[in-house]
Amino acid sequence: MLRELKNRIFICYLLISAILVIFPLLHILFSVFINGVPVVMKYGIDFLTGTLPAPNKPDGGIFPAIYGTFLMVFIASLIGIPLAVLAGVFVAEYPNNTISKATRSLLLIMMEFPTILVGLFVMAIFVVPTGSFSALAGSFALAIVMLPYVATYTEQAMRSVPRQFKEGAYALGLRKCRVVFSITLKIAKKGVVTGLLIGMAKVAGETAPLIFTAGNAWRSTGSVFEPNGAIPLWIYYLIQQPYANYHEIAWGAAFVLMVFFLAIFLPIRFSMVRS
C-alpha cells in the first residue's frame, strides 16, 4: 500500500516537473510572438527597412541591426569555418594523438565558456589597438564563439563515416589529403553542414561578445571597419531605454530574431530525427 502510494507521488512529481519546464519555455516563445507580431504588423514593411525613430515618434525600423547581424555572421563564418573544419579534421583523423585529445577537451570547454570574456578579449587585442569599434572586431569575437561548435560537429560527422570507404580510397593509392577532402568530408557533408548552421544560428543570437566589439549604429549601415549594430545588441540597449516605442521595437526585433533562429534551427533538428 505504502509502496503504491510512493509510486503515485513519484509519478505526480514527474508530471509536475514536466509542466514546470514546458510551461515557462512555451510562455517565452508565446510572449515574443504575441508582443512582437502586432509591432511588426503596425510598422509594416518599414520595420525591416527603416532605421531607429526618435524617442516616442512613430514608424521606423530595425534595418541597421539586420544588416549588422548578417554582415558579422557572414564574416565570422569566413574566418571561423575554415579554421574549425580543419581543426575538426585533425581531431578526427589523428584520434590517438595527445594534441588531438587535448584539442577535443579544449573545444568542449570553449563551447561552455562565458562569451562575455571573448568580447573583452577581442576588445583588448583588436579594438584598443585600432582605436575603434568595428564590425570586423565583432566578427572576430563571433568566430571564436562559433569555432567549437563547427569543429565538434565536423569531428563527429567524420568519425561516423564507415571505414570501408576510407580503406577503398587508400587502396586506390590516394594520398591522405585527397581521401579526407574528396571522400570522407563528402560523405560526412550532412553532419558538417549541420554543424555550420548550428554555429551560425548560435552566433546570430549572441549579445555578450558584441557589446564591447561591434560598437553600435542606430541610423546608419557602415563598412566592416566601422561600428555596426546587431539585432540582439539592439534589443539589449532598447530594453534599457525608458521610451515606450523603443520597448515596442525591442519586442518586434525579438520576434524577428526568433524567426531567424527557428528558420535555421528547426529544419536541422527535424532532419536529425529522420536520419
Binding site: I11, L25, I28, V32, F121, C177, V180, A208, P232
Partner: protein
C-alpha cells in the same frame, strides 16, 4: 609527421593559441590592479571610481557573492525539475512521440539568450515583484525575505531566469545518460517486481556521475550568462542575504561598467581581474564536469 598533419597543424595551434592568448591578456591586464590593491580586489566590497588615480579603489566581492548566490538558486530550482523531466521523457512518453517533447527542449537550449532577457524584464520581473510583496509583508523577519524591493529586480529574479535557461541543457545531459543505461539493468530491476519509483531510484544511482557532471556544467553556464542576468538583477553593489535584494554578478558587472571604464585609470584593469576570476571559475567548473563525464564514459 606526414605532410597532411603539418598542413592541419596551424589550425589546431590557432585554437590553442586563442585560449592561451586569452589567459595571457586577462592576466597582463589585471597586473595593474593587483599591484595597487593585491588580492583585496576579490575580498572587499568597495567600488570607488575617481578622476584622481590615487583615490580609486575597486573590490568585486559583491559581484562574486551575487554570481554564486544566483547560480545556486538556479541549480536548486533546476536540478530536481530537470531530473524529473528527463525521467518523464524517457520512461512515460511513448517512443514515437518522444521527439515532440525533445525538440522544444532543444530549441530552448539554443534560443538566443537575449530573448530570455526581454521576457525576464517585461514579464518575469513584474510578476515576481507581486510575490516579493506577499512574502515581505508576512515574513520580513526572516533574513531570506527581509529586503523590500518593490521593483522585483533581485537575486531571485536572476536565479529563476537562470533556472529556466539552464534546465533544457541540464535535462538533455541527464536524459541522454539515462537512456544509455544498458537494457539488462532495466530488465533486471523490473524483474524484481519493483514499482516505477523504486526501479527509477536504482537506475538513477547508476548515472549519478552524469548527474553531478550535468550539475557542474549547468552551474558553469549559469555563472557565465551575461545579458539576461544583467537585465534583471538590478545592478547594485550589495551583499545581502535576502532573495529580494538587487545585486551584481561578475559578468553583469563587466557588461555594465566596461563601457565607461576607460575614463578611469585603474577600472579597466579591475574589470579584467574580474574577468580573470570568471575565467578561472568557468575553466575549473567545466573541466571538472568534463572529467567526470569522460571518466564514466559519457563523452
Amino acid at each position: 609527421m606526414d605532410k597532411f598533419k603539418i598542413f592541419l597543424m596551424p589550425s589546431v595551434c590557432t585554437v590553442f593559441g586563442i585560449i592561451i592568448l586569452m589567459l595571457l591578456v586577462f592576466t597582463l591586464n589585471s597586473i595593474a590592479v593587483f599591484k595597487q590593491e593585491g588580492f583585496a580586489i576579490y575580498t572587499t566590497n568597495i567600488w570607488k571610481a575617481s578622476e584622481v588615480a590615487e583615490e580609486e579603489y575597486y573590490g568585486i566581492l559583491a559581484a562574486i557573492y551575487g554570481t554564486i548566490y544566483t547560480s545556486t538558486i538556479a541549480i536548486l530550482i533546476s536540478l530536481p525539475i530537470s531530473i524529473g523531466l528527463a525521467i518523464f521523457v524517457s520512461d512515460l512518453i511513448p517512443k514515437k512521440i518522444r521527439e515532440f517533447f525533445i525538440i522544444p527542449i532543444d530549441v530552448m537550449a539554443g534560443l538566443p539568450t537575449i530573448l530570455y532577457g526581454i521576457w525576464g524584464v517585461f514579464i518575469l520581473v513584474p510578476s515576481i515583484s507581486g510575490i516579493i510583496k506577499f512574502f515581505y509583508e508576512r515574513l520580513f523577519f526572516i533574513p531570506l525575505f527581509s529586503y523590500y524591493n518593490p521593483t522585483g529586480f533581485s537575486y531571485l529574479s536572476a536565479g529563476v531566469l537562470l533556472a529556466i535557461m539552464i534546465t533544457p541543457f541540464a535535462t538533455s545531459l541527464i536524459r541522454e545518460s539515462y537512456l544509455a543505461i544498458p537494457n539488462i539493468y532495466r530488465e533486471a530491476v523490473y524483474s524484481l517486481g519493483l514499482t516505477r519509483y523504486e526501479a527509477t531510484k536504482i537506475l538513477l544511482s547508476y548515472i549519478k556521475p552524469a548527474i553531478v557532471a550535468g550539475l557542474l556544467l549547468a552551474f558553469g553556464r549559469a555563472v557565465g550568462e551575461t545579458v539576461a542576468v544583467s537585465l534583471v538583477i538590478g545592478n547594485a553593489f550589495n551583499i545581502h542575504p535576502s532573495l529580494f535584494a538587487p545585486g551584481y554578478t561578475i559578468s553583469s558587472l563587466i557588461a555594465n561598467q566596461f563601457g565607461n571604464a576607460f575614463a578611469y585609470e585603474l577600472m579597466p584593469s579591475a574589470l579584467f581581474s574580474a574577468g580573470l576570476a570568471l575565467f578561472s571559475i568557468g575553466l575549473i567548473v567545466n573541466f571538472a564536469g568534463l572529467i567526470i563525464l569522460k571518466r564514466w564514459g559519457y563523452a
